[in-house]
């Protein structure tokens, strides 16, 4: 297996965990949350400050502990959930639709500005680095075998998260969340506490985002404001939308298509005849072409196939007396 394939698959499984977390918030609970990438970033930053040790001048950051990686991941997830709880408790209480999106957009930009500008927090624009091969020395792995170890770890964790989400999907909680997405008033009439349910789903999603961020930090061994940007959430949304919103198998398919195929396609575009010289124009061209493709896919799928390639299974009355209106958002 080539080193390239190993890195693509590792990235893909981390991306998959991110998409599954987003699916809880957007797919089931039905809220277009723009703050989600912030929870991934909080997870990544927290993992780093808990493992890389005290700051050496001129760097500044909080904590600077040397905890074992799994413990740091746990604390990072809890921190992400706490931030999610704070944002969610403000944004979910009364706001829905675009007003919810606008407030979460605000929240993520506040996080981004704080991480980038407030130096004592995470060393501002320089960011954090120095988490090399966590847990590698426990098993005495060298650099090369560590890549395989981390790939295996990511795949197993993705599998576990997928299994967990599959359980949640069919649980009463998962059903209740979907009911809120379809009709909040009806859910309230059946005695559901809308706000608490939505908040629970939101915090679960934020926790998964933080978990993916913690893995991402170990994969990159560093994290800084140029490694993430609030608009990167569009890639995750396109994956969930293309695969099938609300259906975890669909989300898996979306991750394969958008996360692996489209993300990596730009690497191979220059090999096509006539496109080879593109890279020489300026280095961002290929990255920008990927952005154009992702944006177009998002718009076209919203318009022509909003249910995605593998639509969520709907419960239809077998007698056919009641029809369920097609869901568009």
């Amino acid at each position: 297996m080539s080193a390239y394939l190993v890195s693509v698959l590792t990235e893909g499984s981390i991306f998959g965990i991110m998409a599954l977390g987003l699916n809880v918030i957007w797919g089931w609970s039905g809220d277009f949350d723009l703050a989600y990438y912030g929870y991934i970033a909080v997870g990544a930053y927290m993992t780093l400050v808990l493992t890389i040790g005290p700051a050496v001048a001129p760097a500044h950051y909080i904590l600077g502990l040397t905890l074992p990686y799994p413990v740091a991941v746990g604390i990072a997830v809890i921190t992400s959930m706490a931030v999610g709880l704070a944002v969610g408790s403000i944004a979910l209480r009364h706001l829905r639709g675009i007003y919810f999106s606008i407030v979460t957009l605000g929240a993520v930009y506040v996080m981004y500005v704080l991480a980038g500008q407030y130096v004592p927090l995470f060393d501002g624009y320089n960011g954090l680095s120095g988490l090399f091969d966590p847990m590698g020395d426990w098993f005495g792995l060298d650099y090369l075998s560590y890549q395989y170890f981390f790939l295996g770890l990511s795949l197993v964790l993705f599998g576990l998260v997928f299994l967990f989400m599959w359980r949640v999907s069919n649980s009463r909680f998962g059903m209740a969340l979907r009911t809120l997405r379809e009709d909040e008033r009806a859910a309230a009439a059946f005695g559901r506490d809308i706000y608490r349910l939505k908040l629970k789903g939101y915090v679960l999603g934020a926790g998964l985002g933080g978990f993916a961020g913690a893995l991402f930090a170990a994969y990159l061994s560093a994290f800084n404001p140029s490694a993430w940007s609030p608009v990167e959430i569009i890639v995750l949304y396109s994956a969930v939308l293309v695969g099938g919103r609300g259906n975890i198998w669909g989300v898996g398919l979306g991750v394969l298509i958008m996360g692996l195929l489209v993300q990596e396609s730009t690497r191979f575009l220059p090999m096509l005849p006539g496109l080879g010289q593109l890279n020489t124009v300026h280095p961002q061209v290929l990255l920008a072409m990927r952005g154009v493709i992702i944006g177009l896919v998002l718009v076209l799928f919203l318009r022509f196939r909003p249910q995605g390639l593998l639509p969520e299974r709907r419960f239809v009355d077998r007698e056919g007396a009641l029809t369920v209106a097609p869901q568009t958002a």
């Binding site: 706001l95 407030v103 929240a107 072409m289 944006g295 718009v299």
Partner: protein, 293 residues
């Protein structure tokens, strides 16, 4: 005291650019009932058009006209290609919100492909600063503020006194009822987007002038502040938005002047969050109509 007055001078310039951008945004909202997230890209397109024309002709007036026209055409294209079809197809406001976010991503990246992601320096000669009353203004600042006031006045004349303005208000209040009375709502919405695009394109030009440079991402950053101003004033209501824009512009410059300009965006959103939570319909509206969805 002198510092405060100096800041006020800058703040008036910021507020007038923000007012143009926010009123243009709110007009688009008024006729479609959806927030156009790619509004910022109209400003970016305007800035690029102004820069290119200025390089060829060397005339600032031609650059301003080019910026407005490019902005108008860009906004019209957004409406006819994405927003209009989505509305006819019966999409909810949230879906159109997501679609325009995707469109904004596409336009930014297309601009990167053609022009590169780097900042382009673009400044006019500001002239020697002059004392006007207690404020320090450069002639360029003066031109920006005067042109913004003139454009706003013209816009409000069109909305309140012309037949087109009457149709615009009818569509914004009740699209179905307007159509029943024989108004072609799609056409009015398209024309409104063109008009708003003219204003936003010009705003992109003067924003690039006052900042001194621009990049493919420059409009999106300003859109976030525009959104704050429009929501703070009252989405879809031109006059309330104008007041909101002036207020947000003043607050931002003072906060930036006394704390740090890098936190501007965070400040803007703090204002926004408070307004949405306390008065979700905007500060200067008293309508009972709910704005959720």
């Amino acid at each position: 005291m002198h510092d405060a007055l100096l800041t006020l001078g800058f703040a008036v310039v910021t507020a007038s650019i923000l007012a143009l951008s926010a009123v243009a945004f709110t007009l688009q909202y008024a006729v479609t009932n959806v927030a156009n997230v790619s509004h910022g890209e109209i400003l970016t397109v305007g800035a690029y058009a102004a820069y290119l024309v200025h390089q060829r002709t060397g005339s600032a007036v031609a650059a301003a006209v080019a910026a407005a026209l490019a902005g108008g055409l860009a906004a019209l294209a957004m409406h006819s290609a994405v927003i209009g079809p989505f509305i006819r197809f019966g999409a909810t406001p949230t879906v159109v919100f997501i679609a325009t976010l995707g469109m904004s991503f596409v336009i930014q990246n297309v601009l990167v492909i053609f022009f590169g992601a780097a900042n382009v320096a673009y400044t006019l000669d500001p002239g020697a600063p002059r004392q006007i009353g207690p404020f320090l203004f450069t002639p360029l600042d003066g031109e920006i503020v005067v042109s913004a006031i003139a454009i706003t006045a013209a816009l409000f004349f069109i909305i309140s006194r012309t037949k087109f303005g009457k149709a615009l208000r009818a569509v914004s209040q009740n699209r179905e009822l307007a159509r029943v009375t024989g108004i072609n709502a799609t056409r009015i919405a398209g024309a409104t987007f063109f008009l708003a695009g003219l204003v936003a394109g010009y705003a992109g030009f003067i924003l690039a002038e006052s900042v001194g440079s621009f990049s493919p991402y420059f409009g999106f950053g300003f859109f976030l502040i525009t959104l704050t101003a429009a929501v703070a004033g009252g989405l879809g209501r031109a006059l309330s938005t104008l007041v909101g824009a002036v207020m947000v512009g003043l607050i931002l410059e003072f906060a930036g002047g006394y704390v740090s300009a890098s936190y501007n965006l965070a400040f803007a959103f703090a204002i926004l969050a408070i307004v949405i939570l306390v008065r979700p319909r905007g500060l200067f509206t008293n309508a009972r109509r709910t704005v959720f969805e």
